[in-house]
Subunit: 340 residues, 2 copies
Amino acid sequence: MGRRRPGTPTLEEVAARAGVGRGTVSRVINNAAGVKESTRRTVQRAIEELGYVPNLAARSLAGRRADAVALVMTEPDWRQFAEPFFSEIVSSLGDALSDTGMQLMLTLVRSDAERQRFLEYARGGRVDGVLLMSVHAGDPLPDMLAEARLPTVLLGRRSGDEYVSYVDVDNVGGARSAVSHLLERGRRAIATITGPADMYVTQCRLRGYQEALALAGLEGEQTLVAEGDFTTESGRRAMAALLRRHPEIDGVLAASDTTAAGALETLHSAGRRVPEDVAVIGFDDFPLAQRTTPRLTTVRQPIEAMGRAMVRLLLEEMEEGAVAWRHVILRTELMVREST
Amino acid sequence: MGRRRPGTPTLEEVAARAGVGRGTVSRVINNAAGVKESTRRTVQRAIEELGYVPNLAARSLAGRRADAVALVMTEPDWRQFAEPFFSEIVSSLGDALSDTGMQLMLTLVRSDAERQRFLEYARGGRVDGVLLMSVHAGDPLPDMLAEARLPTVLLGRRSGDEYVSYVDVDNVGGARSAVSHLLERGRRAIATITGPADMYVTQCRLRGYQEALALAGLEGEQTLVAEGDFTTESGRRAMAALLRRHPEIDGVLAASDTTAAGALETLHSAGRRVPEDVAVIGFDDFPLAQRTTPRLTTVRQPIEAMGRAMVRLLLEEMEEGAVAWRHVILRTELMVREST
DNA sequence: ATCATGGACGGGAGCGCTCCCAAATCACAC
DNA sequence: GTGTGATTTGGGAGCGCTCCCGTCCATGAT
């Protein structure tokens, strides 16, 4: 297991070459104040001449921080990894993190063994904080991290009484406004294609759907609800099943834009016109929503803001040592386009 | 920037509690030989009682290794991040790495600033090696890593005379056999939808396509080639363009299964029967290829083997200190199904 | 009882950095 | 020229671990 790198110059060697003390070089590479401009330049030249690169292990050990945060994707996410939600979120986190000087590292946790290994990695101090992608109901990882007192922020929550810090959107309100919109458009037989049943986000959106119907004095029929898993394929299948059970359907709320895209395809194949025969609403407002035919009415999730909020919460927790949990619920916005 | 974790017990404290020396505890946690079974148990109990977790920064510093490798995805990949190729590869790398005890960390490099930051991270010793996803022609990162003498393995290569270690598949041969297969099926107007023109893999597959046509005494027309980017959407678009230019097309080689899926959709909409009117071949052999209608004939890339090979090459380079580059070209296999 | 042999074990010497305090230097007013 | 306070600078003391050498002790041959 000899993984030695060839001899890299050390801070001390830089100091010797520049004719200054260790402390001064340290100040220079950390951009700290209190170094005369001329000295700084001398040191910088020595650094370049030697091709010096700070040893991060030593820095971590002495400074008691890793300057890195992990973004963990757990198994159930993984099968949805290929969906745009993830790349969008990762991008936005990357942007939000980019000026903190911290590295974002994505980590895959697909099994108990990998969960354990990650936990040791995190508890071992390799990261200063952990971001968790849409966790499922029974996932123990957030609790393990909380117990280890590692700053942690979830995207979405596992249940209504989640305590660990999280950033979520108002899924109930979003779904409700979407269905209200369908009702305003005169639709009455409104179906919904949900996400995986074991995710809280799914339950929330379903509740919003039901509340809107109840508010209109309509009774939500169980058979108007079909389960999907956020993928296009599941949207196709669920829509087909719904049409079979309820040919009279004239409105659909899908769990995501990708799901809605699948539903659109099925509706098209079945000869239903959108929005004339059936109005369709998605969830997310990804670029995809503007490329469907017809362009998709959808509930916008503020991905940028979500990424920024997650990073902000994480930084706050890191700053004060994870003594409190914080929750942020972001508002959604209905983007009305051509599919309703 | 105070990112201090609360006081974790140290190895020394464990040693004190177990009534042994530091060395012995170190031997126990590293599963090294030369510890009496009874002592080992005593130490293990102390570890559990204190909830000891080794400090990885200290271990890295003293041991001169990070026990982690990075998988870097550069910007151009990123827009294809949502395609299954990536999740498949990541999975297979995860499996291949899982029994080495090393952490796999995915890293996104979307800009020069991020490239620089990653380089410092890697040169700073945070990873023992680097895996690079399908790099584009002009990407300087592999050279920078090579110069820093960091063990590096590419998936695919940037050009025909790539020197940095890589694992690739026989793209020319794969495409050639696919086109030959179409020719055997009596097709003569064979088009191809390629990947991004600036990727070597695209050029190779195009060459295989042309060679097979030439072998059959056919002249490859420039207008039978349409550029895509591996996405389904690009498959749809490219196929539509091809049909417009060449309504007589009776065979298509797509750059990937996802692209082929897009092409299938367009063909279907255009009322062409597959394979009766047009035969379609994909590339990759993802699960997707078995779910299309009709099921897709495709050139199989041995993803599992690719992941294993990458890890093996990387470990070898780490072992001997990156003194040589190694190349592995894996064979492809034509999976004949219903679309041809 | 004596001695050689080898397996267990303890702990010193670093790994390369940050933190921080004391010392040195400088600027300026008197 | 002297004193005062601010600004720079040097370097000791760790951070928590691995490596490795020397010691200790049990075992068995003599």
